[in-house]
Every structure is written in C-alpha cells, then in structure tokens.
Symmetry: C2
Subunit: 359 residues, 2 copies
C-alpha cells in the first residue's frame, strides 16, 4: 500500500522526510555503532541531540532567555495536576473552559486547590471560544489557564487572551507552531508532542523562569518544574527517542519556513476544507465560524448514516482518520502541520464527489 | 563503524534483531501506509500492538488473573511518589535501603506520608543487600518496598524478601526478566523499560488487582493506578512507540527461551566476568560476593589512572559504556539481557589482556 492520507487527531501525521531520516539512522545512529535508543542519556551523542532540539524549538518559537524549555513524559494531561502543584501553591487559578481538555484541567486543579471557571461554552456544545475581551481576568489569580485549540470541537482561539499581570498558561498541544505566537505574552506554554511536534511520549513545556520559584521543595522531585529545569530535563532519564523525533520535526520546520511558513500552508489548507463545507447546505460545521480551528475541521453530512458511509468510503480510498470524536459524532479532519497540502486537496475532492453523488 | 559492544547502564543495549525489525517497519508499519508513530492509539492497529505486548510480557513474567499490567510514562522514579500516593493513603510504608534509587523511593514517600527504613547499607557504600531473613517486616506496614538490583553498586537480591502479609513492592527496573520470578510473592512490580525491556519512555507496572482499590478518587486521574488500569493504560495517549518496542523485545525473549533462557545466558555471562575479576589481585569488585549483581558488574583496577586508561582503551576497541557511576567511580560493565554473550567474551578477553600488560 502507498502512503495513506492521514487525518488522525493524534497521534497524527509526521513529515515523510522525517520518518525516512529516522528509519535510515535507526539501527546505527550516525555511524556510532549503536541505536540512539541504546545510548546513555548522559553521553555526548544524546546530549547533542537533546540540546539541539531545545535550541531549534526555542528558535522556532522565538523564546527569549527569560524562558526555560523542559521535557517531561506522562502526556499533557499529567500537566493538568502538575501545573497547579507547581504554580499555585496557595490561592486560586482561573480557567476558560472551551471543551473536554479545558474541563480536565479544571477538574484536576480542583482536586488540589481553589479554581475559578471564568467562562464556559458547555451549554452550546463547545461550539465557540470567547470573543476577544469577553473574559475579564481577576488580578488576584495565580494563573489563567486556557486551551488554544480544541481538537474535539474544532474551535481555536485566533488571539491570545489578555490576562493583565496574571501569568497566562496555555495548553497548546494541538496548535503549537501552527502559526507564529508571541511567547512573551505567556507565563507557560505546554504541548503534548503527538499532534504538531512529533510522536507520543513527551510533553514540551516553555516556562517563564521567574515562575519556577513557585515550585516548593515539598513536591516530589519528578513533579518539580524548578528541579527538572535546573537539570536541563535530565533529572531522570528523559524519553530519549520522542525528544529526538521532536528535534527532527523542528529541523524539518526550519527547512520549510518555520512557524510563518506553516501558518501560510495551514491557512491555505483550512480555507480549502471550510470552502467546501460552506459550498452549499450539504455539510454542517460544528464550530461557529469565528471560532473555527485551523487544525481540526469538525463537520457532518445530512445524516449519521451518510457520515458512516463517508468514513468507510474515504478509508477505502486511502483517506484515514476522518471519524468525529465519539463525544461529538460526525466527521473530523485533522490537518496539522505535517498533513501535506496534497492530502487536503485529495480530501476536498473526495468531499465534493461525495456531496455530488449523495446530496 | 561496526556495531559496538554496548555495556551502558541505561538506556542500554537492545537486541540487534529487534532494532532491525523496528527499522524495517518504521516508515510503513506492516503495510498500513503510515508509521506506527502516526496512528491513533484508539485504532485497531495500535490496539493489537498494545494488547499483544501485555499478553507477551504477562506470559513471560508468568502473571495470573489476579494482576493487572499498566503502562505509564514519566520514568520509574516518578513511581517513587505515585506508589505511596496510591498504595499508602494512610499509615506507613517500609523500605529496604540498598542504594541511591532505594533512597530516592524513601525520600519521595517521606514527602507524602510516613516512612520506616527497616535496613540500610549506606554505611558500607551499599556494597551488599541484606541476607535472607535479615530484615523483619512489621505487619502494620501498608507495603514493603525494595530495589531488586542496584545498578550503581552492582548488588542484587538473590531471593525475594519475605514480607508476610504486607504487600511487597519491588523496583525491578534493572533486572526484570533477567531470571524467572514468582510474581505471586509481590503486591506490585515496576520497571522503567530502558535496561531490560526496551527504550526509555515507558514504565511497566504489574499490580495485584486488590491493591487497586487503595487508589482514592481525590488523586489526579493520571496518577491513579485504578483509573489507568480500568482503561487498559489508555486513559490518555500512552507512549505508543516505547510500548511497541517493549513488545518486540518480549517477542524476542519468547523466541530465545523466555526468562529461563535469559537466566541461563545471564549466569554464564556473569560467571565469566566475575571469574576474571577473581583471577588474581589485580581487579577489586565493589559488591560483596554474596550480593553480586548478574546485571551490573562493578569493579576497579589498582588505580584511578588505570581505570581511566581502561575506559579509554576499551572505547577505542569498540567496548563502550564501561565507566563506573560518578558516585562510586571505578568501572562498571552492564550486561543486561540484550548484551550478547559474544560481547561479554570480548570484554573478558580485553580485561585479561589489560591485566597482563598493566598488572
């Protein structure tokens, strides 16, 4: 079988040239006579991979010396508990609740201390994010947390919320590096790698260094941002291979115009799919137009039966991963950075043909 | 360069046939038109990989239906806090302190509740583990924790401690599946994969199911063994690729005689290196003879200068990773399951020649 067109919501498509490079140096890493998977994380070879990944990601994100980059295992959802454990030793944290994972961040933080939900879209099926200026941030909060892109519902912030002097914390798992962002607006950004950065198995954290002082010594050391940052994410054995793959993806992005280049491609890709959705009354988008995601396009055909037929026929035609999340139903096309424009064009052609024959 | 002889303490050697299989199916996984790294963990392809890994590991370990197998990210040291969080909601936990990582388990558990150190080898540089029967286990403990193999010092339990009715918890990171064990003696076994099971990035937990009831709902869900076990380690995105590699290593072990086969090879390997160490007075072993590890052989030459020369000359000859841990110094040969007998024979020849020319 040739390479499929991969619209999986995550783990999701990786650039083919990255996969081919990784395969070619898998058994004997760059002539060192062993696989990278077999090498000590304290050795020179892995050290260079680790530091290069930090440097390249930092450069792509445009981070300054005021920020530390940290790698952790356990998945982004583990951070739902680690963020309040580190950044809210006392006081309250605020939340903008735009969906399942935003809710998860509220729930976990609530187990460990005081939370305030400032805004929620739960009553309208999370079909939108707040408009700019709609959420006022109380200045006594320890931090304000939001989810920049909501994979399940296909909504995405098109701006960075204003939190005043309160550190802004963003779960950017599903749209990090999909567009340029001004990191200086954030206290902390975190992202599970398996959407836009690489494979599952590592979370990338960008933390403003002054916030590291909030981590208390009473925290278990592997939950303590300050201690992990002080050891350059080598306090324990890091998830070596996932970090290496993230580094390859970073180099790939650098070769292809950085975050700005990705944003140009992502705008074209999204415009093409939403254009088809808006073509006539056949498709219905889940997200309100102003909140539409550039990463996850959620939509449905006129019936659940047709949705099912769409997924099956698409799959048979080599277009994979188009079933909507079980909590929303319908269809979803995840078009992360690594999904080629050619795959999106093939999808749109398939949608047009489906609409023509079934409409 | 040809393949090196890899004596790294971890991440460490993987079987060459495993690496070659992984490389060959890296870009297009078993004809599915995508890399396994690009596939949803909720899809059929990954599901089969996941469940097969659980089945194969379970069969190699000889676990019964009374036990659950769980995969987590974050490294084995994260478990130092998660074990007391789950298994000791109240009361005290007991510890046998045989080295750095055993001490880490004490320290983290002490941050979260009551600990009792029942035995320690700290005063003799952790050169031995207790003799069988030397540690009496108070029956009011919530669990008794020990480290079966101590990588830094090269000591290893040659028996399973008797904890009476108290659940026995073992950090088996560095000797899991190095020999057959009777799992029914344990309340819980856990192991970071990067010594004997696969690459860094996943921890394997084997937990007696009745102990899962100790996990309280107030725990963050990604720290809750019961919730993770209930979802077959798919509560969040698991570290897909590391689990796949562990599965390949399990299949490799099955093809090569299981834990019993590994134990035969490991006995021959260790006997060969210790035989050279005991040949005359040139080498000094760190561990007391009755506590010697079959996985990590710690020793030194007559001087720090000669140790340094040994590491450099060995490295030049393609024998890698022989420097002792910085806290003990000297030399260390890690001869985990995946280190071929041929590599050990090459090492012993090199040691003999070094002793002949420098002694």
């Amino acid at each position: 079988m040739n390479r499929i067109h991969n619209f999986s919501a995550g783990p999701s498509a990786l650039p083919q040239e990255v996969l081919e490079q990784a395969a070619s140096e898998f058994v004997n890493f760059r002539g060192h006579g062993a696989s990278l998977l077999e090498m000590s994380h304290r050795g020179k070879v892995y050290d260079a991979v680790h530091d290069e990944c930090i440097e390249d990601l930092g450069s792509l994100l445009g981070i300054t010396d005021d920020y530390a980059m940290v790698f952790m295992g356990g998945g982004a959802r583990t951070q739902f508990a680690l963020i309040p454990s580190n950044l809210r030793p006392t006081g309250a944290a605020g939340f903008i609740n735009t969906g399942r994972w935003a809710q998860g961040a509220v729930d976990e933080a609530a187990k460990l201390g005081e939370v305030r939900e400032l805004w929620s879209s739960v009553e309208t099926g999370h079909d939108r994010v707040p408009e700019q200026g709609e959420v006022a941030c109380p200045q006594d909060l320890q931090y304000l947390h939001y989810t920049s892109n909501n994979t399940i519902y296909g909504t995405e912030f098109q701006y960075v919320p204003d939190s005043g002097d309160v550190p802004l914390v963003c779960d950017m798992s599903s749209d990090i590096l999909a567009r340029p962002v001004d990191v200086t607006k954030f206290g902390m950004i975190y992202a599970g790698a398996q959407k836009n950065l690489g494979p599952a198995g590592v979370v990338v954290l960008v933390i403003r260094k002054d916030l590291l002082a909030r981590s208390r010594d009473t925290l278990p050391e592997l939950w303590n941002y300050q201690k992990i940052a002080a050891k350059n994410s080598m306090l324990n054995t890091p998830p070596v291979y996932a970090i290496y793959m993230v580094g390859l993806v970073a180099k790939y992005l650098q070769r292809h115009g950085g975050a700005a280049g990705a944003w140009e491609r992502n705008q074209r890709k999204a415009a093409s799919v939403y254009g088809e959705i808006d073509a006539d009354g056949f498709w219905t988008g889940h997200a309100q137009v102003g909140s539409r995601s550039y990463m996850n396009v959620t939509f449905r055909s006129p019936s659940a039966e047709l949705d099912k037929a769409f997924v099956a026929e698409a799959d048979a035609a080599g277009l994979s991963g188009l079933k909507g999340h079980r909590s929303v139903g319908g269809l979803r096309a995840s078009i992360y950075n690594a999904v080629p424009e050619e795959s999106v064009a093939t999808l749109v052609e398939f949608m047009k043909e489906f609409r023509r024959t079934k409409g």
